[in-house]
Subunit: 237 residues, 2 copies
DNA sequence: GAGTGGTCTAGACCACCTG
DNA sequence: AGGTGGTCTAGACCACTCG
């Protein structure tokens, strides 16, 4: 269960960036210096820095060093970092309202991704949450998790109110990638009420399939987003 | 101008995947075998495979090998690979209609991203294209490129009809990342006509800022997408 | 047990930036 | 000239999968 060195270095630096110990524009210690600090090699340090760069926390400049990048004013909710991660990266006050606590049920039929028989027979854990930014309702999120080797998951409250955090701590499951489909649709009466919009207003409709470090274990979400005030952002590298 | 080894290996494998020499589900040669084939080391090969994995071409499985992943039925247009790359990865027939050939002009004011004085004073090269999938109009794209050290760019036709390809070949400029904002809006009469929709229909509205390998050189785009038939997809890793 | 990818070491040379 | 990140070598040990 020991974390690899490069992930420790990664977490260490990320927390210092999120915690404003390194601020926007600051230069991180050089790769050689970080190797010395963590009693490691440049290769290992570079693996950590590469992840930070990929996720938009730093920029690297040859001959200069690694620079901490600015926080984004848009909501980085199209990336696969969980909502809780985004909260620490934006200037907006974000919070979550649980509309349906995790409960065991059958998969909807039809479902928006095709399921293999193992997933299908296991049933799913369903939960529904409303995300708010500065007290505006911005996102309605329905999540479906296959009920595979997740003992007592529905009986406990979420840790830090974060699904990903709970899966990590209770079951050592980490999200490693995200496949998503995005559409613009008109919202129906039900969604309109929850997102404080008018029926027929345009919203983002997103289907997601999260990949995890557990072979064959995926998490599915359907999102409806109000983008009147806040755009959904994403960063690719 | 020599490409690094890992990029050569990357391009080599990617072309074989796109060219169906390795097909969906196929196992790539192992890392050790690829090192021997390219007279290189595992580290270098892993750098190439890592990029392929990041972009969704392969999955790696410890103890098994690297497996070529399926083509996507949705349009991977929310990722930062150019449109031309997406064309090779989908089963749909894609093509592009040039609505406004590249021409030099002033920046729109206001512009959707803040420009620095260097960009502002240089003016911009503007072009406008309509993207089609299976003869359906799916995306209207307006692109703005700062006119910095791009001699004679507007006077030549695009190579392979691809902007990114032209920038690469004529100016050694490569896109390395993408920052984007996505919203759902109602389309106006003008856009509706071009995308064959009705005024007021919901569409995706996207602002993009592409980062390049040239320090401080960015490319900007504004997109309007019709998602009635085709969702816009993206893959993160 | 043989082969795979994941992690790591201890170096090297290069292009680039800054003082 | 000295420090930085980019690329690369030639190994090593590990956890995992498969026959």
């Amino acid at each position: 269960m020991a974390l690899p060195q490069y992930k420790i270095i990664y977490e260490n630096l990320k927390n210092q960036i999120i915690g404003d110990i390194y601020q926007e524009g600051d230069l991180l210690p050089s790769e050689n210096e970080l190797s010395r600090l963590h009693d490691s090699t440049r290769t290992t340090v570079r693996q950590a820095l590469g992840d930070l760069q990929k996720e938009g926390y730093i920029e690297k400049h040859r001959g200069k060093g690694s620079i901490v990048t600015s926080q984004k004013s848009t909501l980085g909710l199209l990336s696969f970092r969980g909502f809780s991660e985004v909260v620490g990266q934006t200037e907006h006050i974000m919070n979550t309202e649980m509309l349906q606590k995790p409960r065991l049920q059958k998969w909807p039929d039809p479902f928006f991704y095709s399921l293999d028989p193992l997933e299908q027979n296991a049933g799913c854990i369903f939960l529904k949450r409303l995300r708010k930014a500065d007290d505006d309702s911005v996102m309605l999120e329905s999540t479906y998790i296959p009920n595979l080797r997740l003992t007592r998951f529905t009986s406990k409250p979420l840790i830090n109110n974060s699904l990903f955090r709970s899966l990590h701590i209770l079951h050592q499951i980490d999200v490693v990638n995200l496949d998503q489909e995005v559409r613009a649709i008109r919202c129906d009466k039900e969604i309109a009420r929850k997102l404080k919009l008018k029926e027929g207003d345009p919203i983002l409709h997103i289907y997601r399939k999260y990949g995890t470090n557990r072979e064959g274990f995926y998490i599915y979400s359907e999102l409806h987003c109000n983008t009147e005030k806040y755009a959904m952002g994403s960063f690719f590298k």
